[in-house]
Amino acid sequence: MTPKFLQSSRRGFLGGTAAAAALTTLAVPARAQVEVVPLDRYQPDYLTAGEWAFVMAACARIIPSDGDGPGAIEARVPVFIDRQLAGDFGAAADLYMEGPFNPGSDAYLGTQTPLTPARIYRDGIAAVDQWCTDNLGSPLAELEPEDQDTVLRALSSGDLNLGDELREFWALLVQNTKEGYFADPRYGGNHGMQSWIYIGFPGARANYLEWIGRNEAYPLGPVDIAGERA
């Protein structure tokens, strides 16, 4: 419900909707996109071919392609994840990694695994694929979407018993998928700023004083750090 006092308080920053529409069309069409490698020909920096297939399949279930808005695949999230794992994030460059490690500690005390995020993916993917092969006959990537969902649900609730050192695998996978969906395109995901367009986030515009206190949809599309518009 729109509160009454807001319904009548639309201030005329642009002199009404027509001007707002005009401003929107002023936006320069996106500059020629840099040529992107199709995902099936992408050469991962960190993931092996099998791991890449797993990440493609898992991301596609975490943020599926059907319905409104881009899926993780359209947003090229797997590329983002591969690059993160190949870099400082994957190597736990910022984390305190001195022992002794007690990975079975109460989860509220924070992660205690001795494994880096890159290693958690490696071992986690191997363990889940092994479970899929043992119980369903093939690795995750080759299962039907419904079966993939069943496996991921079991992973999320800890039912696959991957052990304490891999306890965070699912949380990492979901978090990194959302990161790749929403982060600036410079990191390899959020292709074409599609996720920002979908939810209505203007990206790096960072200048909204005139829009404060107006109950009115912001009319401009997103801009990224490189200066591209969409």
Binding site: P3, D94, Y108, A183, Y198, I199, W211, A217
Partner: protein, 589 residues
């Protein structure tokens, strides 16, 4: 390898908010000052430049400006018999690192505590009787009063160009301000910020219920401003990247925008970066400090830096760590209640209700760090503790501060956290929710404290500091009381749906989700050397040439964000040093 450098008059440990204030105040005395900062140098240009800093992944999620646990962290246990584990990744709080400290990436919500918060134990005993204080609650008085500190709040607020609306000037209650606040000598230096839709809706609802809404005081400038050091701020443009980011716009008060360029012009002031202080060195009789020892990252060697006066300004937690490592004050012992260093660590008890409105366009990305409308009708000085069964209070606010999507999109109950329904949920609800939050006190307890960890070490081989902390029933009752006040306001606003998140019975501290970087206590100020680590001028009781800044001085946490009080205390201590200590160095009490 090791070297000894020539003696300085003053060495300042850490060049964040308090280090910068002490730096410039003491530079004006003509003293030869060296500030040692463990992190990198940082300036608005190039470090906070548009568009590079508008990068949620790098700064908001990977904590580009904050301390790296690999270099500095703590261990945590919730109870005396739990085995503490290291904080391997940042989460609950995000200490700063580098010139400007957390002062570059704070939100700028700048408060003054209530009068009774400075004398909480006396207030409770006088008003309700000592018997309502739980046996394990170790609250104390600060040893200073709101009246004594008023001129120093004024200094800090005028230095930082705070935008706000006074509610009480010298006892006169002013319409539109906080009528419950302690008297102030004059209005804020800048008028309040404009308000976002969520705040306007909350304001209307709160008024309709008879409460007293007012603009949250903000260190985001509402207009151009020049402070006493000649530093200039420009008006905040609601960039939506405030907390966790340096300001692109010279609008957020920080050491960079308010002090450092002026300070760097003093020829008697110098600073070194990548220089982590390892310990304060004490004289043989342990009655004074002789200087500090630090690690020179560039030279890869330990440096002994002699000085006549040592100012610890390394953030509350690191100040306490250095005191424990250096033998400043007797370490606190939770079994006996004796000892002072590390005593009364406290945090912040917050909660909130999220409201969903299909038809309202909140534009959550259009936000400043500290705009918002608050009420203080349930402040710590407005509650009958005996009747309600807890000691404490909260301020309550609505005011969006960012709409960054990775950091989280609020979704109605029942929407899953992944899959097709999640994707539909973010499309339906991004930009259509708001929240009303309570920001509350957290009191001090016998078994909430800081000491040295017996097992884990940092990269210099020093023991990590161990935090023993958990939520307590008194504070949980307080936050549940706030819930009972906020939910009716939320309902009166007729949202399509709403959901609440407040700590409940048996809640235990979880170090993973971000809560606040409001770590207080551990180096508490007071009037009794057996019960506090510092005297009322933030001077170490045992070493008169060591002064310790920061929220470590709070004997328990206030219901507000700390930096208003941290800034006022820094100016208060600076004045005591300038007027009283320098002419005659000695214990001031």
């Amino acid at each position: 390898m090791a070297r000894t450098d020539p003696k300085r008059d003053v060495v300042i440990v850490g060049l964040g908010w308090t280090g910068s204030i002490l730096g410039i105040e003491l530079a004006q005395e003509g003293l030869d000052i060296l500030a040692l900062e463990r992190g990198e140098d940082r300036s608005t240009v190039p470090d906070f430049r548009y568009p590079q800093v508008i990068d949620e992944l790098k700064y908001g999620i990977r904590f580009g400006f904050m301390q790296k646990p690999r270099n500095s962290t703590i261990t945590l246990r919730r109870t005396l018999d739990e085995e503490a584990q290291p904080m391997r990744r940042l989460g609950s709080f995000l200490p700063g690192d580098g010139v400007g400290g957390a002062g570059i990436h704070w939100n700028g919500q700048t408060w003054r505590p209530m009068e009774n918060e400075y004398r909480l134990r006396s207030y409770v005993e006088e008003t309700f009787g000592a018997e309502i204080i739980p046996e394990d609650m170790t609250i104390q008085d600060w040893g200073v009063t709101a009246e004594e500190l008023e001129p120093f709040y004024d200094r800090f607020e005028y230095m930082a160009g705070i935008s706000g609306q006074a509610g009480n000037i010298k006892g006169e209650i002013l319409e539109g301000g906080n009528p419950f606040e302690a008297p102030r000598s004059r209005d804020y230096p800048l008028p309040p910020l404009p308000q976002t839709t969520d705040a306007l809706m909350f304001e209307q609802a709160a008024k309709a219920m008879g409460y007293h809404p007012f603009p949250r005081p903000a260190a985001n400038a509402s207009a151009a401003y020049t402070n006493e050091y000649g530093m200039q701020l420009g008006p905040c443009n609601f960039c939506g990247f405030c907390e966790r980011y340096g300001c692109i716009n010279y609008s957020k008060a920080s050491p960079q925008t308010c002090i450092l360029d002026a300070l760097k012009r003093y020829p008697n002031f110098a600073y070194r970066v990548n220089s982590e202080v390892l310990r304060v060195d004490l004289a043989n009789d342990r009655k004074t400090a002789t200087g500090v020892t630090y690690w020179d990252e560039e030279a890869q060697e330990e440096v002994t830096q002699p000085a006549d006066l040592v100012i610890l300004a390394a953030y509350s937690l690191h100040n306490v760590h250095l005191m424990l490592l250096s033998g400043i004050g007797e370490p606190y012992n939770p079994q006996t209640g004796e000892g002072v260093t590390g005593k009364n660590y406290a945090y912040q008890m917050n909660g909130g209700t999220t409201l969903f409105f299909k038809d309202v366009e909140f534009n959550p990305f259009a936000a400043a760090g500290s705009s918002g409308i608050s009420i203080d009708d349930f402040a710590i000085n407005q509650i009958d503790f005996a009747a309600e069964g807890f000691i404490g209070g909260s301020y309550i606010t609505a005011g969006q501060s960012n709409g960054q999507p990775i950091r989280g999109i609020a979704l109605p109950s029942g929407v899953p956290s992944w899959g097709a329904e999640w994707k539909k949920g973010i499309g339906d609800w991004y930009g259509h929710s708001m929240s009303i939050g309570s920001h509350g006190s957290n009191l001090a307890y016998r078994d909430c404290f800081l000491d040295l960890d017996p097992t884990y070490k940092d990269r210099h081989g020093r023991p990590l500091m161990r935090m023993t902390f958990n939520w307590k029933p008194n504070d949980i009752r307080m936050t549940q009381f706030m819930r009972s006040k906020i939910e009716p306001i939320a309902q009166s606003m007729n949202p399509d749906s709403w959901k609440s998140s407040y700590k409940g019975d048996g809640a235990r501290y979880d170090i993973r989700p971000y809560q606040t970087t409001h770590n207080v206590g551990g180096a508490i100020m007071g009037t009794d050397p057996n019960a506090s680590a510092l005297n009322r001028y933030l001077q170490a009781w045992g070493q008169h040439n060591v002064f310790v800044m920061g929220a470590g001085a709070f004997p328990q946490n206030i219901q507000y964000n700390p930096t208003g009080a941290v800034g006022a205390l820094a100016y208060w201590a600076a004045e005591a040093i300038r007027k009283d200590y320098l002419p005659n160095p000695r214990p001031l009490v």
